[in-house]
Symmetry: none
Subunit: 225 residues, 4 copies
C-alpha cells in the first residue's frame, strides 16, 4: 500500500487531495529519476524536473518541501520497485532452491530494467541528510531481508551450507547491483541472461551441499530438457 509512486513516507505535501498528491508526485518522480540518473542530482535543476514533468517549478514545492525531498522520493521509488518485484517472482513457488533462483533472477531483472536508477541510488544516497538517508537504508535492509529469507530457507532445508546469512546476502545483492554499476564493461562481456546464469552457477558452487547439488542439477535438467 505504500508502493504507489508518490507514497507519503514522511514527506509532507501542502495539497490535501490525496489522489492528486499521488498523481502529481508520480509525474514529478518519474521525471526526477530520469534526469537525476542521467545528469546527476546536482546538475539537475528543479526547473529541469518541472519542465520534463510538464508542470511549473512552483508546483513541485506544493508536493515536496525540498529539492532533497525529490531525491528521497526518487530513490524510494527505485528501492520500492525492488521490494515489489521479488515477492512477485516468488509467487506460487515453494521449493527453497527454486525460490532462491527466482529471487536472484528477479533482482537482476529489475536492476537491468532500472539500470540508471540503480546507479543513481549508489551515487546519491549520500547526498541526503542523515535522517532521510535512514529511510533509504531501512528500505534496502527490507529488500535484503527477502533475499536473506530465501537463503535461510535453503540452509534450513539442508540444501546449502551453514554460511553467515547476512554476509552472503550482501554478495548476492551486490552481484545484482554490479550489473548496473559495471554495465559499461559487463555489457561487452555478456548479456543479462548469461550474467545471471554464470552468477547462479558461481553461487551454487559456493553454497550448495551435496544434497543441494543433486536437486540443483535435477532442476537444471528439467529446465533444459
Amino acid at each position: 500500500m505504500d508502493n504507489k509512486p508518490g507514497a507519503v513516507h514522511d514527506v509532507k505535501a501542502q495539497v490535501s487531495d490525496e489522489a492528486l498528491v499521488t498523481r502529481r508526485r508520480g509525474q514529478i518522480i518519474a521525471s526526477a529519476v530520469e534526469l537525476f540518473s542521467h545528469q546527476g542530482f546536482y546538475r539537475t535543476t528543479i526547473q529541469d524536473v518541472a519542465r520534463k514533468a510538464g508542470v511549473s517549478a512552483g508546483l513541485i514545492y506544493q508536493y515536496v518541501s525540498d529539492k532533497e525531498d525529490v531525491l528521497l522520493l526518487a530513490l524510494l521509488s527505485v528501492l520500492e520497485s525492488y521490494k515489489h518485484e521479488i515477492p512477485a517472482a516468488l509467487e506460487g513457488l515453494s521449493d527453497p532452491l527454486e525460490r532462491f533462483q527466482a529471487a536472484i533472477r528477479a533482482y537482476c531483472r529489475v536492476v537491468d530494467q532500472r539500470r540508471e536508477a540503480t546507479v543513481l541510488a549508489y551515487r546519491s544516497t549520500k547526498s541526503l541528510p542523515d535522517d532521510r538517508r535512514r529511510l533509504i537504508k531501512d528500505c534496502e535492509i527490507e529488500t535484503n531481508g527477502m533475499i536473506a529469507a530465501c537463503l535461510a530457507d535453503c540452509i534450513r532445508a539442508g540444501l546449502m551450507r551453514d554460511v553467515n546469512v547476512e554476509l552472503v546476502t550482501y554478495q548476492l545483492v551486490t552481484f545484482a547491483h554490479s550489473w548496473a554499476l559495471k554495465h559499461w564493461r559487463l555489457k561487452e562481456l555478456c548479456g543479462l541472461e548469461q550474467y545471471v546464469a554464470e552468477g547462479l552457477d558461481f553461487f551454487a558452487h559456493a553454497l550448495l551441499t551435496p544434497k543441494g547439488w543433486r536437486q540443483w542439477k535435477r532442476m537444471a535438467e528439467s529446465t533444459t530438457g
Copy 2:
C-alpha cells in the same frame, strides 16, 4: 613512478617547478579526498579545500584548471593506491593460491584504509565529463587486471575451475568494494578480518578444484597451527 600523489596525468599546472607541483597537489588532493568523501563533491567548495589544505583558493587554480580537475586528481589518487598496494602484497609470493589470497586480502585492506575515498569513487566518477572519466575507468581496468591475473594463474595451475575470469574478477573486486560501500551495516556484523576470512571461504568453495582444495586446507593449517 607516476604514483606520486600529484602525478601529472594530463592535468596541466601553471607552475613549472615540478617538485613544488607534486607537493602542492599532494596537499590539495589530500584535503579534497577528505572533504569530498564526507560532504560530497558538490557540497564541498574550493574554499573548503583551500582552507583545509592551508592555502589560498587562488593557489589551487595554479595547479589545476577546474574544480572537476581536483575531483579527477582525487579519484586517481585513490585508484592508484589500489594499483600500488596489490603488487606490493604479492611481492615474493610465487604460489598461485597464496598470491590469490594475498591479492584479495591486500585489496580489502586498502579499501578499509581508504573507505571513505572508495565510496567517493563510486559516487563521483559520474560527475566527471566523459573524457576525464575515461582515465578513471582505465585505471580501474588496470587494477582488475592484477586480480584477474591471479585468478587465471590458479586456473592454469588446475587449482580452480575454469570460470569466466573477468566475470569472477568483478565478483572479487566488488566484494572488496562492498566493505566500504556497505560498511554502515557490515561493521555491525563483523570486523575486516572476519569479513575477508568469510569471503575467502566463500570464494574457495565457489572456485577451487579438488586439487585446489587440498592445497588450500594445507595452507590454512600451516597458518593456524
Copy 3:
C-alpha cells in the same frame, strides 16, 4: 516596430510574456547605458545595473544571457535612436538641400542628447565578440545610408559636386559624433547650435555647386529674415 527599447535582436529571454520582456529590458538597458557611459563596461558590475534598475541581479539573467548581451542591447538602443530620429526630422521635407541640412542637424541633436551613450558606442563596440559586433556595424551602416541618401539626392539634383558619397558620408557622420567624442574640448569653444552652423557652412563650401550655393543662400535668408 523593432525600435522599442528591449526589442529582441537575437537576444533570447527566458520569460515568455513579451510585454514584460520589453518593459524589463527597457529598465535594464536604461540603467546600463547610464552606468556603462560613466564608468565603462568593465568597471560596471551587473549588481550596479540591477541596483540602478531597481531589480535583483538574478532577474537580469532572465532577460539576457550574458553581461555582454547587456552591452549589445545598450549599444543597439543608442544606434536605434539614431535610426529613429533622422527619418523623423526629414518627415515632410522634400527639397534635397533642406533634407540634407535637417538630417545633419537631427543627427547632431541626437548625439547631443545621448552624448555619453555615443561615447560608449565608440569605446565599447570592440568589447563585443565578432558576431555580436556585426549587429552593431549593420546598424551603423543603415544609419549612414540615410545620410548618404540625402547626399546622393543633392548630387543628383545638381546641387552638390559629384563626390564619393560614402567617403563624404563618413565625414558628415564623424562630424556629428565628434560633438560627443571631443565634447570635453568643444563645449569650451561653442554651443551645439554654433557647432552645427559652422559645420554646415564648412560642408556647404566643400560640396555645393554654384546652383546649390544660390539655393543655400536663399534658404539661409528665408530662415534668418
Copy 4:
C-alpha cells in the same frame, strides 16, 4: 627628449638606473600596446604583457605602479608618435599650403601605421582616472596645435577662408583618426592614398580662397606633371 619610449611623465619607477628604466619601459609598452590594441585593456592581463615582453610579472611593477600606469604609458607612446611625425614631415617646407598638405598626409600616415593603437586611444582613454586622463588630453591638444598652426598660416597668407581654426582643426584631425576608427569599412572603399587625396580635395573646396585655389592647382600640376 620625452619622446623616448618609456619617458617618465610622472610615472614613478622603483629602479634608479635611468637607461634601464627607459629600456624596460620600452619593452613593456610595446607589448602592452600590441595586446591592448587587439584584446582591449581589460581583457589583457599583466601576465599577458609580461609574457609577451619576455619578463616576469613582478618586474613590471618595478617600472610602473599600476596596471593603469601601463595603459597611460601605452597611450602616451601612441600620441607621442603623432607629435613626432608631423614636425618631421614639415621639415624643410615653408610654403603654408605645402605644409598644410604635408601635415595632413603625415598625420594620416602615422594613423595608418598605428591603426590599432589609434583605436586603442579612443577606446581606452576613459578607462584612466581623471588626473591621468589629463595628461592624454594635453598631449592631444599639443598635436592639434601643430595642425592648427598650419591652418592658421594658410589663413594668414590669404590662402584659406577665415574659419574657426580650432573647430576646423577637429575636422582635420577627425578625418585622420577615422581612417583607423572606420577602417573596417573604409578599407573596402579605397586605399590610404586615395583616402588622403579625396580628403584633401574636400578640405580644399571647403577652405581655399580663390588665391589659395590657384596655388593649390599649380601644386597639383607640378606634382602630377
